[in-house]
């Protein structure tokens, strides 16, 4: 697109502009250029901010920008996402030697075997997967609080199914080596049982 701004609507009696018309975002203004009052005639001063107030506003916004930039850079270098919307971007950055597939099943008091779906907890597939990652990691490593987290999941499921609660819940993790199609797989099963 062109850099030339259109000035055809400028009134003929416009006073001296405090900044020259210039190109778009790629062209920086002269240092000290106020630049905000192009096209405003003498009768319009009341519509503009007082110069001192404007300077303070710019200073405030400038300070806030510096703080945001420092925080954003810090979060980016620390690769944290809990500080969203000022966050790092570590998604998909880890080396992966395996692809995993996991599912959770419950055996109910009536003897039914039911596959647990994310929607039963009101979660998306990714949110449910990330909860399960707190039980067992993608490579098959059981987490320290994994059993407790599975037990909590069973308790929530039982609250929603009081007529036929679960007597056991199992999380099965199937790990296949990468690249895709490489033979061999391993299975990890974590079980919770009602005592």
């Amino acid at each position: 697109m062109s850099n030339i701004p259109s000035m055809r609507q400028q009134p003929p009696h416009a006073p001296q502009a405090t900044s020259r018309p210039r190109g778009g975002t790629g062209t920086l203004p002269d240092p000290g250029d106020q630049g905000a009052t192009v096209g405003a005639p003498a009768g319009a001063e009341h519509q503009l901010r007082p110069a001192a107030g404007r300077r303070w506003l710019i200073a405030l916004v400038s300070t806030a920008t510096a703080i945001w930039l420092a925080a954003q850079l810090g979060a980016g270098l620390a690769m944290t996402v809990q500080s969203w919307p000022v966050a790092g971007f570590p998604m998909f950055s880890e080396r992966r030697t395996v692809a995993d597939q996991r599912w959770i099943e419950v055996r109910t008091r009536a003897g039914r075997i039911v596959t647990v779906r994310p929607g039963e907890f009101g979660l998306t597939a990714l949110q449910f997967l990330n909860y399960q990652r707190g039980i067992v990691g993608d490579a098959g490593m059981v987490k320290p609080k994994g059993a407790a987290r599975l037990g909590r999941l069973a308790a929530i499921w039982n609250r929603q199914h009081p007529d036929d609660p679960a007597v056991s819940m199992t999380l099965t993790l199937l790990v296949r080596p990468l690249p895709y199609g490489t033979p061999g797989e391993s299975r990890q099963v974590i079980r919770w049982s009602a005592s």
Binding site: G26, P85, S93, F121, Q127, L178
Partner: protein, 308 residues
């Protein structure tokens, strides 16, 4: 002093208010339809068990809202975004919409999966609230013109330039470039240049399992080529700061890249793609579109017969 001047000159270039106004229409339009049509389901998260709730840092001091209050937030958010879109009480509407949109998506992300696609939209709503984004293409603008005409006073012109309009767009530019560069940094820091052959992309393609992805994962060399292009694209995002063909070529490549993430990974970055508009002289685009429409209308109008 020179450093401060350079800083101010970089962050506060005076640009036409019309440019930031067009950007407002695009970003609030995206946010409005995003909330209204896509994200209504988030109100159901008020019922999700506490065990799944891991609040983001900014939400930790705040209580979790019940379903009644969540629905009220939803209603206020939709109305404020609609007002911001048409430019009616633009600044107050944006000051209401920005924190509510942040809260809305922050709540959703507090259940174990943070996405970055809405980050540019959140930041855009805040910077548009500070900038004079209602200074054109808005009901506020029409009202102020009518008021001025009635009083016989000077009529405000949409050709006004403003440093805060330039600042808002600069923040968006830095955010877009920063997002890509920091994503490249994370890959290089965690895995190194061998990220390309690390299986990270392959694993996520298999996990998300779109039909297109499952066709590709059988060809390792193709996945590695895609990973190399991803890393190259992210690491060279600073090219967006150059005007002209370099920028245009980068934007085309990035849009294709995000079409790829949608098709192969089922991950949408539409908000980030919309934020690319911050790099362009949008008011010129509007003028061209208007001129083109005018030519089209005149061309299709019945020709007047000249009588002798």
């Amino acid at each position: 002093v020179s450093l401060v001047r350079r800083w101010q000159a970089f962050w506060f270039p005076a640009v036409p208010v019309r440019r930031v106004a067009v950007f407002r229409v695009v970003m609030t339009g995206y946010a409005f339809f995003d909330v209204w049509l896509v994200s209504g389901f988030i109100s159901r998260y008020a019922h999700v068990d506490e065990a799944f709730y891991k609040p983001l840092l900014f939400l930790r001091p705040l209580p979790r809202l019940d379903s009644g209050l969540t629905s009220a937030v939803y209603a206020v958010l939709v109305v404020s975004l609609a007002l911001a879109l048409v430019g009616c009480f633009t600044r107050p509407a944006l000051w209401i919409a920005a924190p509510l949109y942040l809260w809305w998506w922050g709540t959703y992300y507090s259940f174990g999966a943070v996405h970055h696609g809405r980050l540019p939209v959140v930041v855009a709503l805040f910077v548009l609230a500070v900038a004079p984004s209602g200074g054109a293409y808005s009901v506020d603008w029409l009202r102020s013109r009518r008021r001025a005409a009635r009083g016989g006073a000077w009529q405000p012109t949409a050709e006004r330039r403003d440093e805060l309009a330039g600042w808002a767009l600069r923040v968006m530019m830095v955010l877009v470039v920063g997002a890509y560069v920091l994503a490249a940094y994370a890959k290089l820091r965690v895995t190194g240049p061998s990220w390309v052959t690390s299986g990270a992309l392959e694993a996520v393609m298999i996990r998300n399992g779109t039909p297109a992805a499952m066709l590709l994962v059988r060809h390792v060399w193709l996945i590695e080529a895609m990973a190399a292009l991803t890393l190259l694209l992210e690491a060279t995002a600073w090219l967006l700061f150059f005007r002209g063909r370099i920028r245009d070529a980068y934007v085309v490549a990035a849009v294709l890249f995000h079409i790829g993430t949608l098709v192969f990974l089922n991950i949408s970055f539409l908000g980030l793609v919309a934020a690319y508009l911050a790099f362009y002289d949008l008011e010129v685009g509007v003028d061209r579109a208007r001129a083109w429409l005018r030519r089209l209308t005149i061309g299709s109008a019945p020709q007047e017969l000249r009588l002798r």
